[in-house]
């Protein structure tokens, strides 16, 4: 069986590795020569935003999937029925439009921050504090700004956007849910995401989340409800807000393997990538149980460095037990670019965190060019 992936980034690379263990063939479509997945799978160089290219790529694939949701979706509607597409074009469309995503959640009576379309940007000063989100194309923290006071207004987005209530958050959580064509589901343990103040990028992730059992149960049930409401087939990361009153809100849905599930490779019985392989190939789902506490953090390009990446501190990091360094193989680094990630296992969260902090201090992605 040949699995085609739109996008050849790190998610496609890790997916390919899981697929190859069972000898499924993987092809990726990506415009960047030598994209991360090309090191392990066949790459067709081309744009996943071009209908004709996608059409050509789909020939010879038995199933199509993606590692990024910003793909040209109209052609996928045309291909549907001729080839299995997971997630479905309907879901991809919904996720591409963050306003539609919010509307879907509200309509399904799922808790989500209250929101409204921003018709006139001159209204913004009256709405403070507020969160402004681009309707299209947001990714990795781009396309979201928090406007607390008038001093922040210079950051306001000028693209089509909506606003939503600014919540005082206690934590941000993530739950990975897998659902196959038979409707079988598995839900991973709740992860806690700690964000980098500056880049609005994930700083580190802790699994299991440091929350009470009852809340854990509630979060998992809520995530499952979202996927059921979507009637989604595939793997979904449900990002949740926990406010200071202990109330949960659905923030965003990612219809693919997710950064908040990277620890599942080493920490769970079945990784998010293998689950996704099982879904697209029609195999039964595996156990999502957590084998031990884990901390994950991204390896981001250091500020001030560009060009060919240089990895510093690898021997020091690997001299600690239960440490897994993933390097994606991107050919160029730039500040805050996701160049890899590290998973740290421990007997306890504290032990894992302690090791993670040590590694973060020494493991750096610098570059050949310094500016």
């Amino acid at each position: 069986m040949v699995i085609g992936i739109l996008g050849g980034g790190q998610l496609a690379k890790m997916f390919a590795q899981a697929a190859q263990r069972m000898s499924f063939r993987v092809k990726v479509l990506d415009p960047t020569p030598e994209c991360p997945a090309s090191a392990v799978a066949e790459q067709m160089i081309g744009s996943f935003k071009d209908p004709e290219t996608i059409f050509k790529f789909a020939q010879g694939c038995h199933v199509l999937t993606l590692d990024i949701e910003h793909v040209e979706v109209e052609i996928l509607y045309e291909l549907e029925g001729k080839i299995k597409i997971i997630p479905s074009p309907r879901i991809i469309s919904l996720i591409q439009n963050k306003l539609m995503q919010r509307e879907f959640l509200a309509k399904a009576n799922l808790p989500t921050p209250s929101f409204k379309k921003l018709k006139d940007p001159s209204q913004l000063p009256l709405l403070l504090p507020v969160v402004q989100k681009a309707i299209h194309g947001g990714y990795d923290g781009r396309g979201t700004v928090i406007l607390k006071s008038k001093e922040d207004l210079f950051k306001a987005l000028t693209v089509p956007s909506f606003v939503e209530e600014y919540l005082e958050l206690a934590k941000e959580l993530s739950v990975i849910v897998v659902r196959n064509e038979e409707g079988q589901t598995v839900v991973y343990e709740v992860s806690e995401m700690v964000f980098h103040e500056e880049g609005n990028l994930l700083d580190y992730l802790i699994c299991p989340a440091r929350i009470e059992k009852s809340l854990e149960k509630e979060a998992k049930e809520l995530a499952l409800e979202v996927v059921r409401a979507l009637q989604g087939v595939g793997i979904f990361a449900i990002e949740l807000f926990l406010d200071r009153n202990g109330k949960l809100y659905v923030n965003e849905i990612a219809p693919r393997p997710h950064n908040s599930g990277h620890h599942t490779i080493e920490a769970c019985y079945t990784s998010q990538f293998e689950q996704y392989v099982r879904v697209v190939t029609g195999l039964p789902l595996g156990s999502a149980a957590l084998r031990c506490p884990a901390v994950m953090f991204n390896l981001l390009g250091e500020e001030g460095y560009f060009g060919k990446p240089l990895y510093e501190g690898l021997p020091e990091a690997l001299s600690l037990p239960g440490v897994y360094v993933h390097i994606y193989g991107k050919k160029e680094t730039f500040p805050f670019r996701k160049m890899g990630h590290v998973v740290v296992l421990g007997q306890s969260i504290e032990e894992a965190l302690d090791k993670a902090f040590k590694i973060k201090k020494v493991l750096k992605v610098k570059g050949e060019l310094k500016k």
Copy 2:
């Protein structure tokens, strides 16, 4: 860094996958087009028994290693010093000659079955019961015959061979030892190997071995002594005999990742393949600790089937938790060919064994041709 592997079988494939996680590049040299490792790494099609081909292959590699010890070794002596070779040609030579291997063990005062070169095959009837071994080229049970009585003599080997005492065995054990260039070592938990009566092939493996703590310690120390005596750099599987009096003997040494270490991917903190990657790239060794009990069995080509392999029972196998199916991607099956393996994790050995037996009944490798 580019790592070159002589041989592109399943060991090279799994090694490549571990290397690729940290974005090391892997090239393999193998005569069979579309060899297992070619699905994930760059293949040069050519013989690892041809000096010129090996010489050409080595250009552009920073380090050379192997997935099979039956390679042309003279050229490796010439290349030594120009390129890092792990294991060293000295060790490859020693392992290629099973008689020299025995002599080395005896000289190092390591317990090994008593043996002597068979100069005259007509002596065999006087030596019964006895084990006869080919000096060169034995692999996966080929090149070893057990001659218990005169009725067995028709099986006697006609190639240069030696004989060794026939031991009444209680168990066969295996210990994986890793040693890097700095002399740092790690030793894995002892595995117990249960052999298939007929094919003399591994039937299933249990880790940890069901033996007493004191014996476990003795086995690990003995394996470590073997690698120290070898002054070996690399990864070594030390196969041990345990006789019915509780005495341990060194049977054979494999100077590479080994079938008896396949469970380490899922059951240990650091897999045998990642350890090997760390050794060849000069990184510190990882923890070899066992995370939970494991059973491993090989997926062998069913008797009577040939041609393109067909895998039966995959959904049934994967519906159980903690089950990992590796399919090597060989293009043709034949009876008893190693086509893949399965690792089963459990809370206890009994639980893992129970699941393994269930899977063995349903998971079959058949083929397009039936004879």
